[in-house]
Amino acid sequence: MSSDRYSRQSFLGPNSQDVISRCTIAVVGLGGGGSHVIQQLAHVGFQRYVIYDYDVVEESNLNRLVGATLSDSLAHTPKLHLAKMTIFGLQPEARVNGFSCKWQEKPEPLRECQVVIGCLDCYKAREELEIACRRYLIHYIDIGMDVHGKDRPVIGGQVIVSSPGSLCMKCMGFLTEEALAREAARYGNAGTRPQVIWPNGVLASTAVGLALDLVTNWTRSDRPYAWLVYNGSDHTVRESHTLRNRQTTSCPHFSNADAGDPVFKDL
């Protein structure tokens, strides 16, 4: 491999490629958001992946699924396969643990990761993934988008960083009991929501940027949490007002006392 390959990103730090290559990163959900994320992680130089998606390519995915072609929709190619093709095309030596199932059905590989990027479409799934990340000491980055309204549709989205020992998605005000209850009333069905490629690209790029910052700390921000709000009407990404107005930086919902495999306690 030419030493020139990463010369344009050497500002990330003198040993940054070494650190990036030793970091194990998971992407849960390889659809509209996850396909962008995978592509960028492979370009940046990540070598160790744990990836999950049980879905196949359909015609309705072609408006946003990076790497998918018409023939993939006809053949119902697994999204997992597309992700592997993208990774190996750029990183032939990469170690990819891919699973065509929900992460909960094969949770052990996820635990080895240092970073997990969740590209999920419902609150409950986000909550469960964040809990796992806290329990097994993993940085969690969440991305998601939605389109609200019919007469004058508005695109919204979020990129969230939740790190062990710091604010979680409940502390930040993103994951609320009301949102979880509303979703539960629909039996957890997120429904067929509008999805388009360009917000997914913005959100995925922001998530990869935040992941690189966690891995290398090239910005020297030292900030273990973030909630960035995407506004598709004015094409901006800004820090959430809700988060900015929070007075605390400690999390009452998770503690180190919850780390490790759950065990039964004698009463």
Partner: protein, 174 residues
């Protein structure tokens, strides 16, 4: 079987700050880290540090032959931590810092003294993993006594989940 050790950036920072503090007579400091077990693929084990226990200044014994010697109160404190963590399968790891860079290796004194503590820890917390963490200026390694094992296994990696992330991999250790 893969063994991986993880600790948060906050715990790592707390350890480093404490171990680098000068002591009145001891040439170096030591401490203990509580840690819990997680399961990985193929019977692999994940060891997750939960908190650091610094050794109080007056629990060091003045012994010019070694960098640091701790008294029975310090050991009893570690045993108490194991006892209170039994229901959560929380074990304890001796931790200290070597000043050089590179992958740290236990000194002869480390090998002579630290493993002696393990049978006691295992007697109190027989379902937990115990062991030793060695830090250097730019690396880390962990020796893990899994439940029921008389000999340690070297962890494949020690990860610090902070900012930046650090992943210290086992390289030349036998």
């Amino acid at each position: 079987m893969s063994i991986q050790f993880k600790l948060s950036g906050a715990t790592f920072r707390e350890i480093i700050i404490d171990l680098q503090r000068p002591h009145r007579f001891a040439a170096e400091r030591v401490g203990f880290v509580s840690a819990r077990l997680g399961s990985l693929t193929g019977n692999g084990k994940l060891i997750l540090a939960t908190r650091f226990h610094p050794i109080p200044d007056d629990n060091y014994i003045d012994d010019p032959d070694v960098g640091a010697r701790i008294n029975s109160e310090a050991i009893i404190g570690a045993m108490h931590a194991v006892y209170h963590g039994r229901s959560m399968r929380e074990g304890i790891f001796h931790v200290h810092l070597h000043q050089h860079g590179g992958e740290p290796r236990p000194s002869k004194t480390d090998w002579r003294e630290i493993p002696k503590m393990m049978p006691g820890f295992q007697a109190v917390g027989h379902e937990a993993a115990h062991g030793m963490i060695l830090l250097s200026a730019d690396h880390a390694a962990a020796w893990v006594w899994l439940p029921g094992k008389a000999e340690p296994t070297i962890a494949d990696s020690v990860s610090v989940i902070g900012i930046p992330i650090r992943v210290f991999e086992r390289r030349a250790l036998p």
